[in-house]
Symmetry: C2
Subunit: 424 residues, 2 copies
């Protein structure tokens, strides 16, 4: 295969013409496929339909005959705490159970930091900055942007954030109050943090005494290839290195059961937990305990959860394989695109030649494929090289994923060829 | 009946002795009754057990075949908006549906005002004050205290807040950013706002351009005597008087279905709704749509809601009657206590002679009756006259309410008699 870069101008013209025809043919099929968001498919949701029957009018009492229909049990029911404690390998007393959204828990944690400060600090955060490993999760970045927290990009490498860069930044600037981390099957590029990275994050010297690691373990159980990746327990490592209050761990069942009706949790140190409970108790008498009970009964224990996730994996594996196969077929050896082949999580990222992302999205949209906007993986939605794209293959059907990849690959190659032509 | 104030010292001594004996006898029964909070009883919750069967694996799709198990529909499902719009007499597009707690919605609304400001203002609220009609709801006051919003007490009269006082305050102080209102069957004294009060609140001149009425219509449907009280629609009146963005209306099904697993809503003007949606969309992809659907199906429409509330009323009527009967029997004509006989809501307040509330609570606790702490109806938990008590008779059984009132009346009279003796 000739690398595009090695093609002559006339070869490139020929290739462009062929791709234009392919694109026109795809456009003519009037498809509408949405690959914008990390949404489970209906088939995945069906795996959790048992939830509907887990709590009935004959059986809504919890431990100690507590009536879970009524007010109270503010920080979460003990059954659900025990379940999440086992799954996340933390003590049950380190768990707070919220509503259906871990994003909401993260947003609230940062909003509280701005209003009140956090344990170990000297009051409300002002002029705060956050380190944002890039590529990252757009909703994390939007939370910072909305709250006026300045974002500082560092590279997300194959084993976690570029720790040399992170350590240099946090050592000197007390305004840097935290870092976003998706430590397992990272959104969007699927990498897994190595122990050394986790240890350095926990142990590093920070100019801010109240630095926080937002440890968004959104894909803690979400593998579809090989064994479930293991990451170090940030709460343990932070405690061992003398910084017990630094991490806030988040997880949820959003992509385990029902995204719209799941359970989100925080795990944190005693001091953080006391702070969280004290503040949230002012705002609510407790989250939905019946839904917590549904979840605990549905899984029973960690083993039940992992068996359930294996069924998700069976549905996701062929979709991610289709993405990778299409990328291999279209781009292998062409020196054009780089992409990851994740073993878990919800996304594939593709890096095209500089300046090609937005135009690829435009052409894909013309042919009926909706992609996440360019820049979504960067703070402020700005990809300075305009090259990174995020593919979310979980929601469409298998056939749609294959069709989507036809559109994507033709669009991306066409844009890349035109770029090369413009540079010739 | 001789008024206590007219008794001689020896008559008072005799009465004290009798009450001490009664109190000792009650104490000897080792009862444990909790009248601290406005919690529905188990029998009330049973009325809503139909909710458990409203959404099944065969039937979870909403309007337009939207899969309510998945992400999305951030501001609430259209079915539930239509239902609440009918019940609250507002347009469906003025409704935002949250999680299970209207307190959370109110807390978040004020927290956002501190962080971002509100439509019509010039940025984040700083050094803000709130008017707090007294007696009021302790959790409202705790929200203000936690958020650093200074509280200014005004009297809650029989038809609403003392509007002469309110108007004088808000006209001159731009730091006064809002007022708490529980306009129907007010917590804690059950009064209902008259139209004239509502109109004055909506129309009054405020030095703050971004003044907000927190219209906590928590007991919108909650009557147990006579016809449901009618209050004016604050959104309509505010729009008519040129202040459409002033009110934020809150309601919930916490005391309609399950307090732990209900639905909370905000109703507000277009500008406020746009602001609410824009901010909450950063924090969550949406609240629990399955639970919204459960509720909409369970009630069907406003009529279904009112028929349901009539069943609550049948359970609550005898409890409130027992409270009133006991108070009448013990205190009528003695010039000792004043209390209200509400026709809806969840509470009765009793005003004792100055300086008698805390000691009454202590004596009641000795005899096994737990009451809300003294000062609960006042900002900062401080009742300057130490005289107002809140009784919450909904949660205990009928028999427990009767027993509780024995304890309460003996304790209150004993404390009052001793107060008179100390002044003789």
């Amino acid at each position: 295969m000739t690398k595009l870069q090695d093609m002559s101008r006339s070869q490139l013209r020929q290739r462009e013409e062929a791709l234009v025809q392919s694109h026109a043919a795809l456009r003519g099929r009037n498809r509408t496929i949405d690959m914008t968001r990390g949404k489970p498919s209906a088939a995945q949701l069906d795996l959790s339909n048992g939830l509907f029957n887990m709590v009935t009018e004959a059986d809504y009492l919890g431990a100690d005959d507590e009536d879970y229909r009524n007010y109270g049990v503010q920080s979460g029911i003990p059954e659900a705490k025990t379940f999440f404690a086992e799954c996340l390998d933390v003590p049950a007393e380190s768990i707070f159970i919220g509503g259906n959204s871990s994003l909401q828990l993260m947003y609230d944690a940062l909003a509280r930091a701005l209003l009140f400060g956090v344990p170990g600090g000297d009051g409300p955060w002002r002029e705060a900055s956050f380190i944002c490993p890039v590529p990252g999760y757009d909703r994390h970045f939007t939370v910072c942007e909305t709250l006026g927290i300045k974002m500082i990009s560092v590279d997300l490498l194959d084993d976690g954030p570029d720790m040399d860069a992170v350590e240099a930044l946090v050592a000197n600037d007390p305004a840097i109050k935290g870092i976003w981390c998706v430590p397992k099957y990272s959104n969007p590029n699927g990498i897994v943090y190595l122990s050394d990275v986790t240890r350095r994050l926990a142990a590093m010297t920070t100019a801010a005494p109240d630095f926080r690691i937002i440890w968004d373990n959104a894909y803690a159980f979400h593998h579809f290839e090989g064994e479930l990746a293991q990451i170090d327990n940030i709460l343990d490592v932070a405690a061992q290195t003398g910084n017990p209050d630094r991490p806030l761990m988040f997880a949820s069942t959003s992509k385990v059961t029902f995204p719209g009706a799941g359970i989100a949790v925080i795990a944190a140190s005693d001091a953080n937990m006391a702070d969280i409970v004290a503040h949230t108790a002012v705002a609510t008498i407790g989250h939905d305990k019946l839904n917590q009970l549904r979840h605990e009964r549905f899984f029973g224990n960690r083993r039940g959860l992992h068996e359930h996730m294996a069924k998700h994996a069976d549905l996701l594996r062929p979709k991610f394989a289709a993405v990778n196969d299409a990328l291999e077929k279209s781009f292998a050896g062409k020196g054009l695109a780089q992409w990851n082949a994740p073993k878990g999580g919800y996304f594939v990222t593709v890096d095209l030649p500089d300046g090609c992302a937005m135009e690829t999205i435009r052409l894909a949209a013309e042919a009926g494929l909706k992609l996440t906007p360019a820049g979504c993986c960067h703070p402020y939605g700005r990809d300075p090289q305009d090259r990174t794209l995020r593919l979310a293959p979980t929601y469409p059907t298998q056939r749609e994923v294959e069709q989507a990849m036809d559109i994507f690959c033709v669009s991306a190659e066409l844009v890349s060829v035109r770029k090369l032509l413009s540079e010739h």
